[in-house]
Symmetry: C2
Subunit: 249 residues, 2 copies
């Protein structure tokens, strides 16, 4: 038995998200499991570092998989890649210690949200950013982002009501702009359902001067979703990196 | 009667090319004419600066259109853009002198061809570049490109046999590389059917040391298509700019 850690990129546009669903071949996990099982010759399950929603992209999603029999890393990066649709690619496959689990072993994640503030949507970037043709005050957005850093209860910044724990730690939020392109990078221990997209909608409202910097901090205390900002659309969101400790566990 | 010059961007992936065809709504010209006619209330024809093939993109195609009645530039950039599919956008609409014709008035064009030489195709760039995972000798490509500059008979570098004239002038070919991305920019008076894609295939063969610099010049003399290189795929090609003289004619 060998355990592999896969690093995967996908264009989420056509998909109903990461998590396998019955009756559809439109999930990333479902397609990966089908193709790997067919090539391995027996049923294989893979575990992602977490779900991504319908339409969300990944340039560095990770997954773990246990295979029996002789298998090499090139089984994934060559044989499986040749069969996958062209909007899903296994970038790396690494043999790791038994017991590695892409979700349970993860210690941090990096997401990036991309916004196109140009007057007209860029036809070549339209699938990979949120077209939001407004002038944004990046300084205000950065000041609001400072309020979110650290360990907090993020119950007001999720759309799921029954999380066991809503405590998360955000290490950093970096707001950068170049021309009509604005990117918000989030680094943290983990993120709740819709959390990055709600944080983004909230920061955008601050950037439009539609809400104060203080109101962003208040949602952490009131835990009231209705006081947070709008849900930014999936197409602008990328799962960039999943971090593990030095032993790769 | 007012004549407008339109500047248009499109993602060519879904389309059968620029030129209208009967029995399909999968051409850029066909869709633009249908939408503009519906909104104008009478049949409108638009003239492009030239055809682009199926799958070829444009970030600066131009077209001319004559409308009667009261019309403003925002008719195109707002009203029409709202109705167009999101992979076609009118970037600019300029009122020009009567008699302006996007093709007949053009004095030059700029095309760009993008190549991804990375081992694995980038899932986010895959629609907008040719994945060619090979090491390229850019210096040899630049030396070969020098042979193509100037005024020549390009009969060996087209797939159409019955052109009235195959004489064209190439002002410049710029080969640039950054990481695994290679871009070839072509500036000239105009280009024959498939010409930019065949020139690109030929330069790539030179970059692989599969043909000599001299062989690239020889095709100009022998005019033999079979001695030229392969037809590079449409997805890497962009019509970037169409040039007119200072009077906009």
């Amino acid at each position: 038995m060998r355990t592999y850690k896969l690093t995967i990129a996908y264009d989420g546009t056509r998909y109903q998200g990461w998590q396998r669903q019955a009756n559809t071949d439109r999930t990333i996990q479902g397609i990966l499991e089908r193709v790997i099982s067919e090539q391995a010759g027996y049923p294989v399950e893979i575990d992602g570092s977490g779900r991504t929603d319908a339409g969300v992209h990944a340039s560095g999603q990770t997954a773990s998989v246990v295979l029996s029999g002789i298998t090499s890393e090139s089984f994934f990066t060559e044989e499986i890649n040749r069969i996958l649709p062209e909007d899903i690619r296994i970038l790396e496959a690494d043999l790791v210690k038994s017991g590695f689990h892409a979700r349970k072993s993860a210690v941090g994640k990096v997401y990036e949200y991309r916004i196109d503030t140009g007057t007209k949507p860029d036809v070549f970037q339209r699938r990979y950013c949120f077209h939001f043709p407004h002038e944004l005050d990046l300084d205000i957005m950065r000041r609001a982002a400072e309020k979110l850093k650290g360990t907090h209860e993020f119950a007001g910044y999720t759309d799921k009501k029954d999380e066991k724990s809503t405590k998360r730690t955000i290490y950093d939020i970096i707001v950068s702009g170049q021309g009509s392109s604005v990117t918000i990078r989030y680094e943290g221990t983990g993120f709740l359902y819709h959390m990055v997209r709600i944080l983004t909608g909230t920061l955008l409202e601050a950037g439009l001067h539609q809400r104060t910097v203080e109101s962003v901090a208040e949602v952490l205390l009131t835990k009231d979703r209705r006081q947070a900002g709008f849900l930014a659309p999936a197409r602008g969101l990328f799962l960039r990196e999943v971090h593990y400790d030095q032993r790769g566990r």
